[in-house]
């Protein structure tokens, strides 16, 4: 297990070197996209909920990664850095959309959840819809943490690197979020 993780680190380091080298950048970027596109897509989808918006955000995320790869210092893992960019892009997207529509972030999110019922790319049953409504009641950071822990099953240490929050803080947030969701589901 250690050897696998060690090999992955070596592979990541090599990929970063190639990404910063003009001659190898294109090929390396292709590898990067292939490796992370699904993970990043689903991470973003959990934040913005519908496919069309996720498609926009995931593409913008990779473009931002490509444009800023020279600034990546290696003080965190490459995927943590990319996840962070994806998170910020998704949240900025939502903020910008709510400003354009002249509604609050909360109102926009609730509307998007309500639209899931008619969304052709959402096949969840009533319980799944209710769960999404419950998640909509959480503050932004708790939403993020809950999604990353419950749906994406990331380790606390991984989430800590992405969100730059302590593991203790994350555990507390997740615990609170779970309790709120539980209460919401019981009442509704």
């Amino acid at each position: 297990m250690f050897e696998l993780k060690y090999n992955m680190l070596i592979a990541e380091e090599t990929l970063v070197i190639q990404l910063k080298h003009k001659d190898h950048q294109s090929k390396a970027f292709e590898v990067l996209v292939n490796t992370y596109k699904e993970r990043l897509y689903w991470h973003i989808r959990r934040i913005v909920l519908n496919h069309e918006d996720t498609d926009d955000v995931v593409q913008n995320t990779f473009i931002k990664v490509f444009r800023n790869i020279d600034g990546f210092k290696g003080d965190s893992k490459l995927y943590s850095w990319m996840y962070r960019i994806a998170t910020n892009e998704a949240l900025s997207f939502l903020k910008s959309k709510s400003q354009k529509l002249k509604v609050s972030n909360e109102q926009l999110y609730n509307k998007t959840v309500a639209d899931l019922r008619a969304d052709v790319y959402f096949e969840g049953d009533e319980f799944q819809l209710k769960l999404q409504s419950a998640i909509a009641t959480l503050p932004e950071k708790q939403k993020l943490i809950f999604n990353m822990k419950y749906f994406q099953e990331l380790k606390y240490e991984e989430i800590s690197e992405i969100l730059e929050t302590s593991v203790g803080g994350l555990k507390a947030s997740y615990h609170l979020a779970s309790k709120k969701i539980e209460a919401f589901l019981k009442e509704n």
């Binding site: 292709e30 996209v33 292939n34 596109k37 699904e38 993970r39 897509y41 689903w42 989808r45 496919h51 498609d55 995931v58 593409q59 990779f62 473009i63 490509f66 899931l116 790319y121 959402f122 096949e123 969840g124 049953d125 799944q128 999404q132 749906f151 994406q152 099953e153």
Partner: protein, 172 residues
């Protein structure tokens, strides 16, 4: 006792084990995709296969920010000209103020003190000994916190056992 081959009655299709790992990996991959989505969320058919192309196309179409280096760098010359003009003006102003030579008496004492305070003179202790008049020095000139005589006496009371050792003589 002969070892019985447990599997000698059972057969497998030709090439089964060659394709087995590939099939397993495909299934794991599919499961992982649905796991990370969790039930409910779907993507259009073939979305991820086309995503690479979309991203690369977007990258090519994005306007690249190029640094524009103007051939006539007015800014560079502007600063040079401005500084020369400032020096010339200063020179003229000094001339107009008269030809009186500046001596040490023109410097305020506060200016001199400030100079010494903010410039690192790197004086050695020998330099200091030459410059500082010892008979005019007081302990409180060196210490940061002024010492009251009472504090000195209290200290001596508590720390000195034999006052004779101190050799304090008011006559001297």
């Amino acid at each position: 006792m002969n070892k019985i081959n447990k599997n000698n009655s059972f057969k497998v299709p030709d090439g089964y084990f060659d394709t087995l790992s590939g099939n397993i990996m495909d299934k794991i991959h599919k499961e992982k995709s649905t796991m990370s989505t969790s039930p409910g969320f779907k993507v259009p058919e073939g979305y991820f296969e086309n995503l690479n192309t979309d991203i690369f196309q977007k990258l090519e179409n994005e306007p690249v920010e190029t640094k524009i280096i103007s051939l006539k760098s007015y800014k560079k010359h502007f600063y040079a000209v401005a500084s020369i003009a400032a020096v010339v003006l200063l020179f003229i102003a000094i001339q107009f103020n008269g030809s009186k030579a500046i001596s040490y008496s023109d410097l305020a004492n506060s200016d001199i003190e400030q100079y010494f305070e903010f410039n690192d003179m790197e004086l050695s202790s020998y330099d200091l000994a030459e410059i500082l008049p010892l008979n005019e020095l007081d302990l409180n000139d060196i210490l940061e916190n002024r010492l009251d005589n009472d504090n000195i006496i209290d200290y001596l009371n508590s720390h000195v056992e034999d006052f004779e050792e101190l050799n304090l003589n008011n006559d001297e």
